[in-house]
Symmetry: C3
């Protein structure tokens, strides 16, 4: 899509060299064929360093643009980005893609659906009512139980097990809300990548990234009914117990243990080898590794135990 | 089913004009061809104003019946209603219904199942392993991802998106328990109506109403793994973040925001533009609109923040 | 599999009479054709009383073995058991099993998949996209809604209802972690047994036992999005409200009521007729029956109400 056409969609002025734009991305990650957006003046530094071809922004931020970057001036940059995201959404399925490739020794139920463009490795077991979307890639020896849905463009590693009725790559929860309280969907054009040796329970939701990738690293174990928000990054060998979850863009180090019904707010960074007791509510970064936490608000686990004793005393 | 036959089922005496009864409903909503029930003397006023053809009740409440309304006297009216509800349950599928109607431009996977009596609008995308039940109606341009189940009689609007493995119209959680602790199912003979421009995440459960309708209004956004109980009404543009839920019969105004893992007790009324922080537990009505709440027990969000500071001081 | 071959897998010495081993089991439940394991010296008594053919253990515990029981000495008995568990895992499907048996009057959707070895009783309704695994057994009059997955070897009673997208028999959450933080799967070679007259909501996960059975007794009612961990035992007529759950091996008596989002830690025993308010967090046994609890940490419900008043006073 050309930059001039994008300007037309956004009803923004356009001056400069017209080029082909391949997608939308963050200020930090956009390359010279992508556009970005900024809705908050606290990201001025990121504007100045951005390699994006153009940035959707308000008039007041134009002065911070690098030379090679064109402005797309709008009133509400977040809403404009949402409107534009739809134009970059690929079709859910695409008949023009080549027929799926199935590796040697893989057993695919005739009642599974493997969309065009998908690739399945060797010795996999794909059971009935599984859906593997367009361009999805599955490694070797992976077992996918019935009624699992793998959305398009997602990648599952080798030696993985995914239990029944789990959804990998459903849309992240993103929308822009206008002054009337109406929501415009932000199309989630990223994907999910699950590395090797990961096991995921039943009825789990792992959302695809808005841009880029939701990443589940090697050796992770996820129990049933867990929510992983868009753009999360789950470190190697981390463990999520049942009914726990993470909001979007949170990054866990390796071997983090998340107790049952515990949850993370979005955009956090969690040190490796952290342990969170059941029902912990994590709303700030954890910088020191190897510690154990409890409660909501979160505190050191031993402090939490002490606090419960103090609280019980209130009754006396 | 005739009133005299119903009396026979309930082993209740029957005197009066025998008429055909089309269903069971609440005291307030029952019309002159429906029967109702009452299990609590605090609803005397509703008995007096009811338009029901007959009411299942205990001997002691008969005096409050309006003239046009016949008594069906039983020992345990709630259990009697449960027993009767089964007789009004339609078949899950019905071969005698006409073949499903599919609107122009809609793309239905051959691995989806569209039951007889269903109607699908124009330009919809219905992916593999989707089930659309008897007499269900889907609007135009709606996308239904794999392994979604839409139960019979439910209606989905236009421009909706429903993500993988979500269940719309599963039975509400209702049963009558006898003195031995045994449960009798209350058949959930209502439906779910989802208005236009609603997006629902993956692994969500929206239960059908016991009578009437569970209603999700225009523009609502529901994240993954959310529970919506029977007979809820979710106001326009309201937002449920992942793993939140509502028990039955709760009514939310427009633009209510429900944080992750937050939950509502049943039978509440929540003012529009209310915001509930993650893990709020809401057990009373909210009358004033536009406020923000936290905690369980629920309190004003600022009070909750103050309280956490006070609680932390207990440790010193 | 012979004992000598098992010793070879575990790189353990083997002396004695070689016999055929049929499975792995707990110290208490293993019979004379099974092997067991022990990873903690507090189970010395169970070693002494075990009927297992052989026990995987560390050198230091060998002295406690009964005469008829052979030692399989290893460094890390829990990890060794995990490694061995894979060898006892049956195939997910087995073409050599006889074609499924379907009882008279049962209506099976052509879009359901009934694996070889399964048996379905009379007058059942099995809807589209249901999967019934190898050797699974379904009683009479049972209704299974779309996209339910029943894993192999599980048994569902008569007069049951299982709602859409529920998984019965997915693997329990079990693994052994080595000193590098890497996890080895413990294959869950047990099953799930659901007795008669049980109703289970949509998007529920009931995990299969690691050994033995996860048991849901007669008349139980489970709402949507509930987690039942491996080896749990849920007493007759117990009730789980939406989004509640139990970790593994917890045993509930009859008519226990579990409120919404409440949860149990693992390995607990809960007296019959106990009631847990919404969001209770249960981490210890309940010995006295008929009481009502709230909160996390859990307390008597009336105490919890008092405590909330005291806590509210902190704000003054």
């Amino acid at each position: 899509m050309t930059l001039s056409y994008i300007a037309e969609i956004l009803k923004s002025d356009f001056k400069g060299v017209d080029i082909e734009i391949t997608g939308i991305n963050t200020l930090k990650d956009a390359n010279s064929h992508e556009i970005s957006f900024v809705s908050n003046s606290k990201y001025v530094k990121d504007i100045e360093n951005s390699k994006a071809a153009a940035i959707i922004l308000s008039e007041s931020l134009v002065e911070h643009l690098p030379k090679a970057c064109l402005p797309l001036v709008v009133d509400n940059s977040y809403l404009s980005m949402a409107i534009l995201s739809k134009y970059f959404a690929p079709p859910i399925e695409d008949d023009s893609l080549p027929k799926a490739l199935i590796g040697e020794g893989s057993k695919i139920s005739p009642k599974a659906e493997i969309a065009n463009g998908a690739k399945i490795g060797k010795n996999c077991t794909i059971l009935s009512h599984v859906y593997i979307g367009a361009n999805a890639i599955i490694g070797d020896n992976t077992i996918i139980y019935p009624s699992v849905t793998i959305y398009r463009d997602c990648k599952i590693g080798s030696d993985c097990i995914i239990h029944a009725n789990t959804a990998i790559g459903s849309d992240g929860f993103g929308f822009a809300t206008n002054s009337l309280g109406q929501h415009t969907k932000i199309y989630q054009n990223g994907n999910v990548v699950i590395e090797d040796d990961v096991e995921i329970g039943s009825n789990v939701s792992v959302d695809r990234a808005v841009f880029g990738t939701t990443l589940i690293k090697k050796g992770v174990r996820i129990d049933n009914l867990v929510q992983i928000g868009h753009n999360c990054e789950i470190g190697e060998y981390s463990v999520f117990v049942a009914q726990s979850g993470s909001a979007g863009s949170t990054k866990l180090g390796r071997n983090v243990v998340v107790g049952g019904q515990a949850a993370f707010a979005g955009h956090l960074e969690i040190a490796p080898f952290s342990t969170f007791a059941a029902r912990s509510g994590v709303t700030h970064n954890i910088k020191e590794s190897g510690k154990t936490f409890s409660g909501f608000p979160l505190m050191d686990h031993k402090q939490w135990l002490k606090l419960q004793v103090k609280i019980a005393r209130l009754l006396k």
